[in-house]
């Protein structure tokens, strides 16, 4: 088990390197640069700026300078927002984005699993139909639209919750964003759990368990849950990374202080350092999540450990 985890960590290193390389060069292939504005800067100023950020050197040596920085944990300065380093900007926005994403993840996963398991046990009865209908609505309606609808309903009509914005420590400000973010995630989890649970309940080994007289509760908890969670667990990694990246939209709609606004404006401004920094961060998060999922998978399904 430990050896398996170690192997997975080692294979993650080349993936990080490759992503940095590809992103670095693609970004430079795109037209425009951080200092191209409506009005051209005087040539001398431009020359000084480019020299300051090493942009006058050959591309390949810029690449190695950047890579060296990354290895020392330094993502360089933001080229557009003066006086801010990329690391500083990330450390301002990231905690909020993570908090929002993880809250939605926990809420969506738990609610989805419960809903899916209930629907599977009640297959083709009214609780099943009701849950499936809710789940489909959650998945189908895009979250920026759903966000506006709940803002209108809970924020403007009922006045129960704030429409947007954030005050540190205020849970009321988080309810709607977490709800919107967790809805499609919870829906997908519920569908997966329902499907795999129905399949597992029909397997020969569940029939064996019933023939042993174990009782419904023990059969569900010991014999059906673990194998039914397998397809769900493999979705949780990508699911969480959708939540962290998907929160960019929700952060905009609810005017929340996450990392999303930096990422979007950095891409538009060609802020090379900031785009790369946030991209690497996301790659890192996704890899770490997949790693956790793989290890979890090996625990759930003993056959995986030997591959």
């Amino acid at each position: 088990m430990f050896g398996y985890a170690l192997r997975r960590v080692l294979t993650a290193i080349p993936i990080v390197l490759i992503t940095i390389t590809v992103c670095f060069f693609i970004l430079r292939l795109a037209p425009g640069g951080p200092f191209d504005g409506e009005r051209a800067l005087p040539p001398d100023v431009m020359k000084n700026l480019r020299a300051h950020y090493n942009l006058d050197q050959p591309l390949i040596s810029q690449y190695f300078i950047y890579l060296g920085g990354v290895f020392r944990g330094d993502f360089g300065p933001s080229m557009v927002m003066e006086d801010f380093s990329v690391s500083r900007l990330i450390s301002i926005g990231l905690p909020f984005t993570l908090m929002l994403g993880f809250s939605a993840f926990v809420v969506g996963t738990v609610a989805g699993m419960i809903a899916g398991a209930v629907a599977a046990v009640q297959q083709n009865k009214w609780p099943d139909y009701l849950l499936v209908a809710i789940v489909l609505i959650g998945i189908i309606i895009p979250n920026f639209l759903m966000a506006n609808l709940v803002q209108l309903f809970f924020g403007v009509y009922l006045r129960w919750l704030p429409v947007g914005g954030y005050q540190p420590g205020s849970i009321a400000h988080l309810v709607l964003p977490v709800l919107i973010l967790s809805l499609p995630h919870g829906g997908r989890v519920a569908r997966l759990v329902r499907g795999s649970m129905i399949e597992v309940l029909g397997t020969n080994y569940v029939r064996t368990a019933r023939s042993k007289g174990l009782g419904t509760r023990l059969i569900l908890a010991r014999h059906a849950l673990k194998p039914a969670l397998l397809p769900v667990v493999s979705y949780l990694g990508p699911g969480l990374s959708y939540l962290l990246t998907g929160s960019l939209v929700v952060e905009q709609v609810f005017a929340l202080p996450g990392i999303g606004k930096y990422f979007i404006s950095a891409a538009l401004n060609r802020d090379y350092g900031l785009v790369l920094g946030t991209t690497i961060l996301y790659v890192f998060i996704i890899l770490a999540l997949n790693l956790i999922v793989d290890v979890l998978y090996a625990w759930l399904d003993p056959k995986v450990r030997y591959r």
């Binding site: 020969n204 023939s211 174990l214 009782g215 023990l218 010991r222 014999h223 194998p227």
Partner: protein, 327 residues
């Protein structure tokens, strides 16, 4: 000898979208203490469904009626949570496919020990010791190591031994084995049958052996019940059915089985196909494939009636069955 299982008037029906299908009709039989009963028939003859219904393991759309008395309790129509007090303890079942009948995510010992914890109130530790003992008993080498293994680490024969150990842990009065050797190598099949015979003898367990393999029946079963189209069409002591079958279908089955002694002869299959349970023929279900049929067989279904003392058959034809008539 006293009967441990008495089945009376057992019907099993499945609800389909528009219609109903009767998989088992009006089945009666008894099982005496320690006896081995073979249930023989083609696929779709209802042999598995009859016993799944007794275990309360029918698919969601299945329904059973009638009586299956285990001692003085009727298992048919019993609520699942009450049934759980008997199945796994007094009546146990082994399934056809040992590759998929064990839970792939649990260790062998977990799956065995839980039976003892549930039914005998053993502590985990005591259950584990009993499990190792039982694994040794069913001929598993290095039982301690195997007990800690997951099912995918064991061979097919090994897994079926685990299934047997699991079913026998509580020394049940009745063991139902549904095609227990079909998925195994021929060499392993013989060992497995020996094991069944020895263990059920030792524990005084009555064995129901569901199979389509007459070779399996010959060596092991005391009595035999032949099923066709959801009904029993002939039953009696194994020897008499083998050497002197009275129902044309039993005769056909015997002649479609290969014999090592009679080489060179071609096998004679029974002509035609088993009937669909949704559209059973009028009269005797077997008449479209029967060489001995006459007018009555087209119109009236023959009841199961005694022939001589110990056997019964459901057939109108009372003359001598000569095999040549089929060919």
């Amino acid at each position: 000898m006293a009967n441990v299982l008495v089945v009376d008037n057992l019907d099993v029906t499945f609800a389909l979208h528009q219609s109903e299908v009767k998989a088992v009709s009006d089945l009666d039989f008894t099982l005496a203490e320690g006896e081995t009963l073979a249930v023989v028939g083609e696929s779709g003859s209802g042999k598995s469904q009859a016993f799944l219904s007794i275990m309360g393991l029918l698919a969601r759309n299945g329904k059973a009626s009638g009586r299956a008395m285990l001692g003085d309790v009727n298992l048919i129509g019993m609520a699942p949570d009450k049934l759980d007090n008997y199945r796994g303890k007094d009546i146990a079942m082994i399934f056809q496919d040992p590759m998929t009948s064990l839970n792939p995510t649990l260790r062998v010992k977990t799956q065995l020990a839980e039976v003892l914890v549930r039914h005998q109130g053993f502590t985990a530790e005591k259950a584990h010791r009993a499990v190792i003992e039982m694994l040794e008993r069913v001929g598993i080498p290095e039982p301690v190591k195997r007990a800690n293994a997951y099912p995918h680490e064991l061979s097919g024969g090994m897994r079926q031994r685990v299934m047997i150990a699991m079913a026998l842990l509580c020394k049940p009065r009745v063991l139902i084995a549904d095609e227990p050797t079909t998925a195994l190598d021929v060499t392993v099949q013989a060992q497995m049958l020996d094991l069944f015979k020895n263990l059920t003898n030792d524990f005084g367990t009555a064995l129901v052996l569901i199979t389509h393999d007459l070779g399996v029946v010959a060596g092991v079963a005391d009595r035999m019940m032949v099923m066709y189209g959801g009904r029993c069409i002939e039953k009696g002591p194994t020897d008499t059915l083998f050497y002197d079958p009275r129902h044309p279908y039993t005769l056909g089955l015997l002649h479609s089985t290969p014999h090592v002694a009679k080489r060179a002869k071609r096998l004679d299959p029974i002509q035609g196909l088993p009937p669909s349970l949704e559209h059973l023929p009028r009269g005797c279900a077997f008449h479209p494939r029967c060489a001995f049929r006459f007018e009555r067989c087209f119109e009236e279904r023959p009841p199961l009636l005694p022939v001589e003392d110990v056997r019964e058959k459901a057939c109108w034809y009372q003359g001598e069955l000569k095999y040549e008539a089929v060919a």
